[in-house]
């Protein structure tokens, strides 16, 4: 048998790995796109994953979609920034009037699209959301329908989706604060919201939510989890987002002096 096909098989393995490593290197080379510090609210570490069959440590990114708390609709309709005009900019077809009888099928048939979304950490978007949330909760309590709202969402993430674009460079130009706003590739879907008199709105459906924790940080997480037992961990994670908008961890602080407030 000639050795050519054997060499081709080996080359496929080596070239694929080379591409992946070059991609990772390019992402991490040069100045990072964002440098941000998040807490256990935004990066959830689940101890249940650390079972005997998987020794890896992974953090799961949590974010707050300002328009996605259905119970608020009873008292206050949160502002939707992912509206019809924004969705048109993102490549969705919005030609049919939402009140048209054919609108349901028209919007239902549209597929989700890949876009870039800006997420602001602990900024004005979070404060607006928090105030609206408190007003809504107070009103709900007054109506005696929803007495203890904090039980519903005890630790909301302060990372709030604020803007989207097909071009990440334009998005960064609109949100230049690299310590507070990170840009991530996400998937956005279009839907006809019957609760908002058939308004066309966008929904953020997916994002690359898992972040690998390399050694030695993973050892610290395992140790801290063991010491904490059933108690929740308190930590801060320093993240960098590179040229390809992919994150990596540059530091972890376990049990920081000033624990994050909820």
């Amino acid at each position: 048998m000639k050795k050519t096909s054997l060499l081709v098989s080996a080359a496929i393995i080596l070239v694929s790995n080379a591409f992946a490593l070059l991609h990772a290197m390019r992402n991490r080379a040069g100045a990072p796109d964002a440098e941000i510090t998040l807490t256990q609210r935004e990066l959830r570490y689940s101890n249940s994953y650390a079972d005997d069959d998987d020794s890896g440590v992974t953090l799961y990114l949590q974010w707050t979609d300002p328009g996605n708390f259905p119970w608020q609709l009873d008292v206050e309709k949160p502002t939707v920034w992912l509206d019809r005009s924004k969705l048109q900019q993102l490549g969705f077809a919005c030609a049919v009037n939402p009140n048209n009888p054919a609108a349901g099928r028209y919007y239902q048939r549209q597929r989700s699209r890949r876009v870039f979304v800006a997420l602001e950490y602990d900024g004005s978007a979070w404060r607006t959301w928090e105030e609206a949330h408190e007003r809504a909760a107070a009103e709900q309590r007054a109506r005696s329908q929803f007495k203890n709202w904090t039980d519903y969402s005890p630790r909301p993430s302060h990372l709030v989706a604020i803007d989207a674009d097909l071009d990440p460079v334009k998005l960064r130009a609109r949100h230049p604060d690299r310590a507070a706003v990170s840009i991530m590739p996400m998937v956005v879907g279009i839907t006809l919201d019957p609760q908002r008199s058939k308004q066309v709105i966008g929904r953020i459906q997916q994002l690359p939510s898992s972040i690998h924790v390399p050694r030695p940080f993973s050892d610290e997480f395992r140790k801290a989890a063991k010491a904490a037992g059933k108690k929740d961990l308190s930590y801060r994670v320093h993240l960098r987002y590179g040229a390809s908008f992919e994150p990596w961890i540059t530091g972890v602080e376990q049990n920081p002096r000033a624990p994050a407030s909820y």
Binding site: I12, L21, G91, S244, W248
Partner: protein, 367 residues
């Protein structure tokens, strides 16, 4: 393929050698029957020369390719094939679980070295096994484990560096699987390779249109074209060294095509066609009935068993689907199943008639 071409192929390819041995074995059995001896009386000298030649030919083929020369050997070979596939699947699971059990305790460079070296070492193992056996049971087993470790390799490298998932990994896995299939003549690896490459083509098209690549089954029509393309590959790409590969291309292509057609008949809302959902479903249902019947006919004409079987299975599925939508709601269940049974018998009679007509035609042509 002419008999001369068949013999030439038998000297190069294990599958063709097995077919050649099967033909010789049947001929030996037939020549020993009294009925044939009454019309074709061989002289003792001719008989002895045929016996010598057939024995020598079978021995040579067995020596060169380790093929089965008796029915019992064939049965044992099937058991070995099943055992090697199950063993390979278990080993794949073992490799993945072993790695995930310990990878968290290793530094990134060590993780990378293990991930890249494992498929390379397994590839060397495949080559080593292939040089020491002619039946390729261990070769096939190791090839499947090598593919699994390569899949693990790229998936975990992506995880380590938090790389946004991309459809391009499907192409790398598919190309690797097909390279192994062609080098060692492994049909299972060819099947996996074709499925991965089909998945890649659909995902690349989906991503190119601005959607998330793993939503590639949202619009199944891509798979109709891809299935047809794969089906037609053996028509213009000959396989002199792997004579059993064209049937794999045809089977994978036909299954991809008909499964997609059936899915669209079931859920027309996923189609690209701008019609009412019910009209799309009717359209694909009728297309399914006509095309599966055409597949049966073409399979019979070209003597492609896998196409005949696939066409028959989908013709019955499309037919039963239609009957279900017509009758299920208003007919008592016992009557529905009784009618399906009657229809099954009617189909049997129809196929029998077709078969009778074919025999008649062949006899006429022979006369």
């Amino acid at each position: 393929m002419t008999p001369a071409e068949r013999n030439q192929a038998a000297d190069r390819d294990r599958a063709a050698a097995q077919q050649s041995a099967d033909r010789i074995r049947v001929l030996r059995q037939e020549l020993a029957s009294e009925e044939l001896q009454s019309v074709l009386a061989l002289t003792p000298d001719q008989r002895s020369r045929f016996e010598d030649w057939s024995r020598a030919r079978l021995a040579a083929l067995a020596q060169q390719f380790d093929i089965d020369t008796t029915t019992s050997q064939k049965r044992v070979s099937w058991a070995m094939r099943i055992a090697s596939t199950l063993g390979a699947l278990a080993l794949c699971a073992a490799v993945v679980l072993f790695f995930t059990r310990y990878w968290g305790f290793l530094d990134t460079p060590v993780q990378l070295a293990i991930l890249i070296l494992t498929p390379l070492l397994l590839l060397a193992g495949v080559e080593f096994a292939a040089q020491r056996e002619r039946t390729f049971y261990f070769t096939g087993l190791l090839a499947l484990v090598a593919l699994a470790s390569f899949i693990l390799n790229l998936a975990v490298v992506g995880d380590i560096f938090n790389i946004t998932s991309t459809e391009r990994a499907l192409l790398a896995w598919g190309a690797f699987s097909m390279a192994l299939a062609y080098r060692y003549g492994l049909r299972l690896m060819l099947t996996l390779g074709l499925l991965l490459v089909i998945g890649y083509a659909a995902a690349a098209l989906t991503a190119g249109m601005g959607h998330q690549w793993f939503d590639f089954y949202d619009r199944p029509e891509h798979f109709l074209l891809l299935g047809l393309f794969v089906f037609t590959i053996p028509l213009y790409r000959k396989h002199p060294h792997n004579t059993d590969f064209p049937s794999v291309y045809r089977l994978v292509g036909a299954l991809t095509f008909f499964i997609t057609l059936f899915a669209l008949a079931e859920q027309g809302s996923a189609s690209y066609l701008p019609w009412e959902t019910i009209n799309i479903e009717r359209f694909y249902e009728i297309a399914g009935l006509i095309l599966s019947a055409a597949a049966i006919w073409w399979g019979i004409v070209r003597n492609w068993n896998s196409l005949v079987n696939t066409g028959t299975a989908f013709f019955i599925l499309f037919l039963f689907r239609r009957l279900y939508h017509w009758w299920w709601d208003w007919m008592p269940r016992y009557l529905f199943f009784a009618l399906i049974g009657v229809l099954g018998i009617a189909l049997l009679v129809a196929f029998k008639r077709v078969r009778g007509r074919m025999i008649h035609l062949e006899n006429k042509m022979a006369a």
